[in-house]
Symmetry: C3
Subunit: 332 residues, 3 copies
C-alpha cells in the first residue's frame, strides 16, 4: 500500500514523475480516474488552500471528500500508545484510523508541530501514528516535519518558470513573524529542491538552523539529483544571482517588541522588499507557501510585484495533489 | 465578468428577469446547468439557510460546493490594504481571493457589519475587497450593506402571493431585539421592493432611520419601476391596508431592561402580534428573513398563523440562488 | 411518512428486516438508490463515525449530504414551545425544521442528553421537536434517549459473528469514565438486543440502573422476540458464558479521585481486561460503540486483542444506515 506523508515515500525520481504528471493534468484534466472514491481529511489545524484544493481535486477526479476538524466537530484524539485517557482526549488514533479506513479510500491528516522540540518534530508522532494504524493510503496535509504537497507544488512552479528544476538557484530566506512557527514548510522547500537538483541556499540569522536530520536527508537527495546545498547567515550575498527567492518564517523568535513583531531592527531587515531583488537574476520569481503576513513576513511591494508567483504556486497545490492521489491509487 | 453582491448589479429589470427565472426553476428544475462547477463559500458569520440552500442549489445544478468558516477551520483574514499584519489575522484577502479563484468557479462570501457605523457599512469593505481581488464571479451571502439573495427571495414570495409585485403594499416594520442588529436585511427589503415596483412603507421608532445612501438608491429604483416609498414612525397607520408585513429588528437599541430585551414598553409594542394585522388587507402575508427570536421580535401567534409565509420565503432562497448562479455563468 | 429516531419506529420485525438488508448491502452495494437525494445533518454534539459514515453512505447511494454544526457555523437553536427568545438562542426549531425540510429530503439530528435527569432524557425533547416540525423523514444521529443506528450496527455485528442474534448471550457491562455519560448507547444496546432475541444481562454497580421506561420497553420486545433480560450487580457472574461483552460507561459517577478518573478501586475493577474474558465462551467478542477512553473505560489489552470487533462494529454503522435510509424512502 502506498502512502505519501514524507518526501522519502517518493524520493527524487518519484518526485520528478509526479511533477511531470501534475503538469500534464494541468494541461488536460484526467477525468474521473477516482470515480466513487472518498478522501477523508482530518484537520488538527486550520486550512484554506489545503482543504479547498483537495476537495476540488477529488471532485475533478470523480470522487468526493469528507473534511473533519478535530476538536471542533470531531472528538479530540490521543496518539500516544499506552495512554491512560483521563484528560480531554476522547478517542485514540488506534480506533480513529482503522475506523475511518472502513469508510474512506484514502485518508489525509493535518497535524502541525506540537512545539515540543526538534526531536518531537522529527518523530512526527501524530501523522506516523495514523500511518501505522490506517488501513488505506495516507496523504499528509502538513505535519510537524514536512508539508510534502507544498514541496511538490513549489517544484512544479519552479519547473513552469524555468523549464527545469536542475541547477535553478533557490534561496530559502528566513523571514520575521509575530510568533515562533514550525519548520515543516522550510524543511520541505529544502528537501524537495534538493531532490529536484536545485542549487539551494538556506539563509537565516544565527540560531534559526534547520534540524540535522532534515539537512542530512536533503544532502542525500542532492547527491542523487546533482543538486547543491549551502547554508549561510548572509542574506545579501545569498540572494546574489537567485532565480527563486522563497521567503518563510520559522523557528524561535527574539523577544517580541512592543508592536508585537520582532525585537531587533537587524532581523526586521530580513523581510523581503524590492531592494532584496536588486542582485537577483532578471527572471527571478518570489515564492511563499501562504498564508503570509503582509508587511511582517513579506512587504506589500514584493507580493504585489511581477516577481510574485504565490498564486500560481497555490494553484499548483491542486494539480500536484491530483497527481499524488492518482499515484496513491496506482493510477500513476 | 458578472458579480452579484448588491442589487445595483442587477437593477430593477435584472431583478425582474431573475425572479421570473427562479419561478420557472421552481416549477421545473433546470438540470445540470453547472455540471462540474464548484462554488466556494467563505463564512465570516454563522449560517443555516444560506449554506444549506446554496449547497443544495449547486447540487441540483450538477455542481458542488466547498463551505469554509473563517476563524474556525480557516485562517482569520485581513481585508485592509497596507495593513501591517502583526495581529491575529494570518492571511490577506489579496492572497485568499485570487487563490480561491484558482480552485473554484464562483465565490460566495458572508461578512456582516463590523459595527463601525453607517459609513463603514455603506463602504462594505470586506465583500468589496473580495470582489476587487477575486478572478471569478462573486455572490454575496450577506454583507454589511445588503443581503441581495434574501431580497430576491422576498420578491419571489410577494410575486407568488399576489401574482405581481407592482403596487403591492409592503410595510417594513422595525421590531425589538436583544442586541443591536445590522441593517443589511432591511436595506435589501427596501431596495428590492422599490425596484420591484412595490408601494413600500418603512416604519420604525425615531432614531432607527435607514442610511441615506440606501434610501437614495431605493428612491432611484422606485423612479424606474413606478414604485413608491414612504417613511413613518406610526406603526398603526403604516399597517393600514398592508399586503405584506415584513418585520425585522435593526439598528441601535435603547438600554436593555433587566430581562435583556428592550427598555421601553412602547418599543416592545412594535413586536408583531395578531392585533397588528387587524387593519391589514384580508390576504395579507407576514415575512421575516429568519432567524427570528420568537416572542421578542415576533410573537408565536403570528409565526404560527396563516399569515406567515416565512418557510416559503426561506425555500425561495434556493430557487433565486439557482437563478442567480445561472446568471453569473451567463446561462440566464 | 417514515421516521427512524427510536427503535419503536421499527420494532423487532422491522429491525430484523433492516439487519438482513444491511448485510445484503455489505455483500453487494445497492448503487444509486437515492440519486439526487440530499441528507441534511444537524449536529448539536461532536461526531467522527456518524458524520463520516452517513456522508459516505449517501454518496454510495447516489445522493449527497450537508453537515451543519449548531453553535459553530449554525445559529444556536431553541426547542421549547412558547420560549421568549431573549437568551443566546437565535433560531427556533419551529422555523429550522420546516425550512431545512424545504432544502433536504431527509433530516438527521444529533442531540445528546442535556443532563437534566431521567424524565428529560426519556422525553427526548430536541429530537422529538424536530420530528414534530420536520416535513421530511427524520433519522436520529443519537439523541438523549437512544442511538438507534448504533443499536442496528451492534446487532448486525452480533449476527455476523454468530450467524444469528437469537439466544446469543449479550452482557452489557458498565465501565468507569472521567465524567458522567448519557445513557443513549446502553439504552439502545438493551433495546436492540432484546428486540433481536438475545439473552441480555445488564450488569453495573448499584446506583447505575437504566431508566424504567427503557427497561419496560425492552421487556416488551423480549416478549415479542423470545429474548431474555436480566439485571445484576455481579460482573464476574454476569460474564460467565458470555458471547458478547459490551462495555460502556454511563450514568452518575462517584466523586472523582485526584487523577480525574473514579474514586473507588472497586469500581475501577469494572474496566474490562483480558481477565474478564476468562469465563466467557471461546468465541466471545468484545463490542463498544466508540469513542472509547483506553485504560479508563477499557484496557489496551482488550481493545488490541482478538476479542475486539469494535472496528467491524463501526464499519457496520455505514451499512445499517444505508439500509435505514433506503427504508425511510420506501426503497426497502
Amino acid at each position: 500500500m502506498r502512502h505519501f506523508t514524507h518526501l522519502k515515500d517518493l524520493g527524487p525520481k518519484g518526485q520528478a514523475a509526479l511533477i511531470k504528471l501534475a503538469a500534464e493534468y494541468k494541461r488536460n484534466e484526467p477525468g474521473a480516474l477516482l470515480k466513487g472514491k472518498v478522501l477523508g481529511m482530518l484537520f488538527f489545524n486550520p486550512s484554506l488552500r489545503t482543504r479547498t484544493s483537495f476537495e476540488v481535486a477529488m471532485h475533478k477526479l470523480g470522487g468526493m471528500s469528507v473534511a473533519l476538524e478535530e476538536g471542533s466537530g470531531v472528538w479530540k484524539l490521543e496518539t500516544e500508545d499506552g495512554a491512560v485517557m483521563s484528560g480531554d482526549k476522547a478517542e485514540h488514533v488506534r480506533e480513529a484510523a482503522p475506523v475511518l479506513s472502513r469508510y474512506v479510500d484514502v485518508l489525509g491528516v493535518r497535524a502541525f508541530s506540537r512545539g515540543m522540540g526538534q526531536a518531537d518534530d522529527d518523530a512526527d508522532g501524530v501523522i506516523n501514528a495514523f500511518r501505522r494504524h490506517a488501513k488505506v493510503p495516507m496523504i499528509s496535509l502538513e505535519s510537524a516535519r514536512e508539508h510534502p504537497c507544498q514541496g511538490l507544488a513549489d517544484m512544479l512552479t519552479v519547473q513552469e518558470s524555468f523549464g527545469q528544476t536542475q541547477g535553478v538557484k533557490v534561496v530559502l530566506s528566513w523571514a520575521p513573524h509575530v510568533r515562533p512557527l514550525p519548520k515543516a514548510v522550510p524543511n520541505s522547500v529544502l528537501l524537495h529542491a534538493a531532490a529536484a537538483g536545485c542549487d539551494v541556499t538556506v539563509v537565516h540569522p544565527p540560531g534559526f538552523e534547520l534540524g540535522e536530520a532534515v539537512r542530512a536527508e536533503a544532502q542525500k537527495y542532492a547527491g542523487e539529483s546533482g543538486g547543491k546545498i549551502r547554508y549561510s547567515n548572509d542574506q545579501r550575498a545569498a540572494l546574489e544571482g537567485a532565480h527563486v527567492v522563497y521567503a518563510k518564517a520559522w523557528g524561535p523568535e527574539p523577544r517580541a517588541s512592543e508592536d508585537g513583531i520582532v525585537a531587533s531592527p537587524a532581523l526586521r531587515g530580513w523581510m523581503p522588499t524590492l531592494k532584496h531583488f536588486e542582485n537577483a537574476t532578471e527572471e527571478a520569481i518570489f515564492l511563499h507557501c501562504l498564508p503570509v503576513r503582509r508587511n511582517v513576513e513579506v512587504s506589500d511591494e514584493v507580493l504585489d510585484s511581477e516577481f510574485a508567483r504565490v498564486v500560481d504556486e497555490a494553484e499548483n497545490r491542486m494539480w500536484v495533489q491530483m497527481a499524488a492521489l492518482a499515484w496513491l491509487f496506482g493510477k500513476a
